[in-house]
Amino acid sequence: MSSKEWPLWEVFIRSKQGLSHKHVGSLRAADAQMAIDNARDVYTRRSEGISIWVIESKLVTASDPDESAELFEPADSKIYRHPTFYNVPDGISHM
């Protein structure tokens, strides 16, 4: 009996032309092609997709949730990056 466990793959599906691929979950498979075949059966049984990406889970590098405060803080303080920061005189339109 084989004790070799299949690697874990993250699955991304494009639901229709014009939209980006979106993470839908993960599954195990012996290689990338079989991961795509399995993803077809597991995640697109009701025409949820027209394109599938798979990537081995161990290849994903994620940001550290413990450091998310420091990591994302610089964006929080820069409210001038949003259009609502600016005053536009009454009567001005198309802006």
Binding site: S2, K4, G25, S26, R45, P65
Partner: protein
């Protein structure tokens, strides 16, 4: 690494839960939260997988090609549900292989309902109607569970479940409006599955010691008794509509509470089934073990094929 002590971390964790902020795999969580979820999600996954067996029993004997195609699609969905859930449990550090070994050794539990036999075609109707119906009642609140991967898996599962319940109720209502023999067959099926379906919601709240903690962690959003009552209230009307009789002489509308009163559940039977002494426990586990052993060559072939394909790619 965080320098906060465990009390601070626990306080922050509970504050997130209270604020309805989802917990994701890499976030800090108390060990007990992780353990509780791993147990619940893996039991749920096992239930989906074992749940294929009672219905698989009728695929080759479905009365028409249409019913066969529908039943196949439903059973295939259940396999998918099992996979979503094993994957969700793996994000908590569950080892899938050893979890499946625990199922096969009898150490891990799964829903008691799947230890009852499917004796007639009408059972395919009753299972979709009552068993998937009860599962939906349980699973809808889980879509708001505090653990992100579990909640997301439940959203997918719930979308798929509604077809399961409808195809079952269609079978039930056709038989209930059929010949006297057909009506008898579906009434007999309801008689056998009604009480086990009510047991699917688990012990009474007074006998469910871990529930309070699960509610505090927002793993559980409604109590066993609340869900059971909700299920009875909607199902009684459905049975009436198709002219079937719920096998409970104490079932009675209660004007004051706005709910149906119902008879005593046989918890002794429930405990026996949970402990492995139900009518089909042994069959179910044997079937799972055989499937794994007899399917070993498929997994080996997949590995060999992957190796071969890799070599080919390297030489090109």
């Amino acid at each position: 690494m965080s320098t906060k002590n465990i009390e601070e971390l626990e306080k922050e964790f509970q504050a997130k839960i209270d604020a309805d902020i989802k917990i994701e795999p890499n976030d800090w969580m108390p060990e007990a939260y992780r353990k509780t979820l791993m147990r619940q999600i893996s039991q749920h996954a096992h239930s989906e997988i074992v749940g294929m067996l009672p219905e698989g029993n009728w695929i080759t004997r479905a009365p028409s090609l249409k019913r066969k195609a529908v039943l196949l699609a439903k059973v295939q969905d259940e396999a998918g549900h099992g996979l979503y859930l094993y994957s969700a449990a793996e994000t908590l550090g569950l080892d899938r292989e050893s979890s499946i070994d625990d199922l096969h050794s009898g150490k891990a539990k799964y829903s008691s309902i799947f230890n009852y036999p499917t004796l007639s075609w009408a059972d395919m109707g009753t299972i979709g109607w009552l068993v998937d119906g009860a599962a939906i009642m349980n699973q809808v609140p889980l879509c708001r569970c505090s653990y992100g991967p579990y909640a997301r898996a439940m959203v997918r599962v719930c979308k798929e479940e509604s077809f399961h319940q409808r195809q079952g109720f269609e079978i039930v209502s056709l038989l209930a409006n059929g010949t006297p023999e057909q009506k008898q067959m579906v009434q007999d099926s309801l008689n056998r599955f009604w009480w086990p379906a009510l047991m699917m919601f688990g012990p009474n709240d007074d006998n469910s010691p871990n529930s309070a903690q699960s509610v505090k962690w927002k793993i559980k959003r409604m109590s066993n008794d609340e869900l059971r009552q909700q299920f009875i209230d909607v199902t009684v009307l459905q049975a009436e509509m198709v002219g079937l009789t719920i096998p409970d002489k104490d079932l009675k509308w209660n004007e004051a509470t706005g709910h149906y009163d119902f008879g005593a559940i046989n918890w002794e039977e429930f405990n026996q089934v949970i402990q492995g002494n139900g009518p089909c426990n042994k069959d179910r586990i044997d079937a799972r073990r055989n499937a794994k052993e007899n399917g070993a060559w498929v997994r080996e072939a997949a590995n060999a094929f992957a190796e071969k394909r890799k070599k080919k790619e390297l030489t090109h």
